[in-house]
């Protein structure tokens, strides 16, 4: 597979959230506003990419019997690094994301990519695989985060988008979208939309 294909495929065709249905927990939890969604998307992308690179670099020396432990150590280190940087330089967002940055450790996409790809591939393809999967994850988060903030509170990135006159004639923000079930419905609709376009169904 060419690097380009490795990069592009997980963004739409083999998206980690809508096709593989991984990383749902954080996709529902942090997406009530656009800004934390973007930061979370970038954080996960950085973490997958660097974990992929590191594991791929040391793949020949990793003892098979403890490979999961090694992978988790690498992931945990990356996650703590990102968490520390957010706390120092993006304090407000880090407060909003609270525990979910730490919980990236348990995000199955990250471990999945290490096990499924980085362990058997060279450094460059692993880098692109990490980037692609990160973008695929970020894309869905941004779509859901944007829709939830826009229709749930009438804003985008904290700026009022839906004009006041619309509220005056009776428009009401959809409170359901601010809650986790609202995100769940949105995600379900996205999965449906994507599969009905790509005609890719899972047979039993």
């Amino acid at each position: 597979m060419s690097n380009k294909k490795i990069l592009v495929e997980p963004i739409i065709k083999n998206n980690p959230i809508t096709i593989q249905v991984l990383g749902i927990c954080s996709a529902l939890a942090v997406t009530s506003q656009l800004k934390p969604s973007i930061v979370m998307g970038i954080s996960v992308t950085v973490i997958i990419m660097f974990s992929n690179i590191i594991v791929s670099m040391i793949r020949q020396w990793i003892p098979k019997n403890i490979r999961i432990i090694v992978e988790m150590t690498v992931i945990a280190t990356m996650v703590i690094l990102v968490d520390q940087f957010l706390r120092a330089f993006m304090f407000d967002v880090s407060k909003q994301l609270s525990v979910f940055v730490g919980l990236i450790i348990t995000n199955c996409i990250v471990l999945g990519r290490l096990e499924g790809f980085a362990l058997h591939n060279k450094v460059m393809p692993s880098l692109f695989d990490g980037l692609g999967n990160g973008f695929g994850y970020a894309l869905i988060l941004i779509i859901i985060g944007g829709m939830r903030e826009l229709f749930g509170s009438g804003k985008l990135l904290g700026i009022q988008i839906i004009p006041q006159w619309l509220y005056n004639v009776g428009y009401v923000d959809n409170g359901l979208l601010m809650l986790a079930p609202g995100a769940f419905f949105l995600l379900g609709l996205l999965v449906w939309l994507q599969r009905s376009i790509t005609k890719q169904y899972e047979e039993d």
Partner: protein
């Protein structure tokens, strides 16, 4: 060679040392910046609780520190409501209310932040903290100068469920506390209580009740518990100074 158990042991040791070293260095380098963020956040929240700062206010970190130094005076009282001096070398910024709580009642240092306007006391602010559902919640509670009416409440550090319990930190929720009373008609400290649903004029005792957040009952129960717990510590101070005014 890869199957050798000594090899595995050495390999994971090297990885652990490398990762641990990297994390220690990062933590050392970033720690001063993180600490400054925390202090600014704390002072910002005291300013918020006493009402001279809100989410719309745009201030740089230095402006916040300046404004705090100008308008807030702090003091320490003990359990009996008397003024106490801190031992040499300790400042009010070093007082950790959480550690104080583990001491004997008589030895606790209780910080109070006072908003002053032209030599008049305008508001009193005390730290509040306690367990929510998942995490320890930290905040401030400010009282009007009558020491009875709540001027404002903020929560600045918490790890509650985002979108549900974490909403206690939003202005939408905290503004419900404003104007509520912590003493009943007989002068007993009864605090306020967050209840399910909306509080209206017809709700019995509505002056002591606060609108809840649906889906965040456990978090709100925690908040109820620790607000009364922390107010109790200051009860003597409140009673003494209420009589004066």
């Amino acid at each position: 060679m890869q199957q050798n158990k000594y090899y595995s042991f050495i390999f994971i040791s090297i990885i652990t040392i490398l990762c641990g070293g990297l994390l220690s260095i990062t933590s050392m380098v970033l720690h001063p910046k993180q600490e400054l963020n925390e202090i600014v956040e704390m002072k910002k929240n005291i300013l918020k609780a006493v009402g001279i700062f809100n989410n719309q206010t745009k201030m740089s970190q230095n402006e916040i520190l300046d404004s705090f130094d100008k308008s807030i005076e702090s003091m320490i009282v003990n359990f009996n409501g008397q003024n106490v001096k801190l031992p040499a070398g300790v400042t009010i910024d070093n007082i950790n209310p959480e550690l104080e709580e583990q001491k004997n009642k008589e030895q606790q240092y209780l910080p109070i932040y006072i908003l002053k306007k032209n030599e008049d006391f305008e508001a009193y602010c005390i730290p509040i903290f306690g367990k929510g559902l998942w995490s320890t919640i930290y905040g401030y509670l400010a009282l009007e100068k009558d020491l009875e009416t709540i001027k404002g409440v903020t929560f600045y550090k918490q790890g509650e469920t985002p979108g549900l319990g974490a909403d206690i930190a939003t202005e939408r929720f905290t503004k419900n506390f404003q104007g509520k009373k912590i003493f009943d008609e007989n002068g007993n400290l009864i605090s306020v209580k967050i209840i399910k649903g909306k509080v209206g004029e017809s709700t019995p005792n509505h002056i002591h009740k606060v609108d809840g957040i649906s889906g965040a009952t456990k978090t709100c129960d925690g908040v109820n518990d620790f607000i009364i717990k922390d107010l109790k510590k200051y009860e003597q101070f409140l009673l003494k100074n209420r009589d004066k005014s």
